[in-house]
Symmetry: C2
Subunit: 240 residues, 2 copies
Amino acid sequence: MNRLTREVLDFPCMEKDTPQYDNIRGHYLFSGLEEEVFDGLAKDIAVESFEKGEILFHRGDVASDFYYVETGQIELSLISPDGQKKIVEVIAHGRTFAEAIVFMRESKFPVTAEAISNSVVFRIPNAAYRNLLQDNTNACMRLLNDVCRHLHQRVQEIERLTVQNARSRLASYLIDHIVETNDDEATVRLDLPKHIIASRLSVTPETLSRLLRAMTDDGILTVDDRLIFVHSLARLRPYD
Amino acid sequence: MNRLTREVLDFPCMEKDTPQYDNIRGHYLFSGLEEEVFDGLAKDIAVESFEKGEILFHRGDVASDFYYVETGQIELSLISPDGQKKIVEVIAHGRTFAEAIVFMRESKFPVTAEAISNSVVFRIPNAAYRNLLQDNTNACMRLLNDVCRHLHQRVQEIERLTVQNARSRLASYLIDHIVETNDDEATVRLDLPKHIIASRLSVTPETLSRLLRAMTDDGILTVDDRLIFVHSLARLRPYD
DNA sequence: AGCAGCGATTGACACAGGTCAATGCGCGGG
DNA sequence: CCCGCGCATTGACCTGTGTCAATCGCTGCT
């Protein structure tokens, strides 16, 4: 455990005028709030650290808080009765998650959250945030916009899972993760371990490996560890 | 086109003190509104009829309104480039749809809407509803709750598509549509044509047919046209 | 240096579910 | 009454993707 983590564990509540404070303050779910309103909320925000592999919460747990990721990466997953896991999303620095159940009656987490690298998160009590929205339509609208965007993403995910095959889903993923593009070529950086990417795409690691192999053999791309060079977007796109 | 349809086409705006007015007034997205506020909104609500097979809007169309279904059934679907269709949901009497994009920046419909039986719908302008939420946190909260529930449903759908197989999905569907249950037995009424159910479950009609056959052969259930008698919920559930 | 362990790759094989095609069946229209 | 059409069923076959198992190569620890 490094020095920073040690510190936050010793001071589990948000402090004003720290870099952390400014970070979350800049998030669009909070940036619209009056300074003193946010300060009031900050008192209730807990800072927590998780080591790689630790579980933040399980699917079905009662949801009384939502989270902001300060450092690290958190995976949100579904687990079937027979132990199969499907990673729905991976949340990295500067993003919130589970904010969508702030307003649910049935306030159970629909997914399990696990740290896939050492992480620091801020835990925001639903009730506190909800109270503060009571007389702030502006913040309400922001949250609505946020949740609707999530919903749209989930619909797109359903589309990928149903009307697209594994190859198409991989193509979409690659195109979404282009770091640099140049005419018909592009560079993609894989920011996650391959087995996690595989699960996000709802395929096995073996299948992902074979797909990349097939695309390499077809001359569409070249794989160099975590870097992928796409030689022909035109030939990749038809599967998008 | 029957007489009722004729009439609503002739009077395309909502009239107070009609059964239609009371119906939509009772919907939870509107029931919380002050009477005069709702009356103001009602002026902007258009009444429209669609014959079976008609399209209300295509995926990608600019979304300036959302809908309430007065009579009939509307299917929401995704269509892949190569023409494959996946029905995401079927909306029947008394429910709204597309209300989730009221607050989206990118206000394009993420799905295509088609009437699968002759239908009457009310079209509510997003802008009008949005204005009215400006100073009504209560209504805001209701919408938030609504959208969050949708989101949760979509997550569950993703779960079904990934960690469950076709047989499990069918079992879930049957259990969700039980009309009467008695100890270990149950009666299920299929409210939709089989090919629509198949698409909702993301299988082909052939597969659905075979699954029902297999379950019949296993003595788990009996199919009598649109009525299904489940003889052993205990043997159906393991796939749930 | 050597070993343990995890992630990635590859091959052989299995199987769920899709595709294609033929047949049956019920219903509405001429 | 019969014809045609859309929905459902059934069979034969195919294929994408999962499963199982072996191997390889890192990385980090002792």
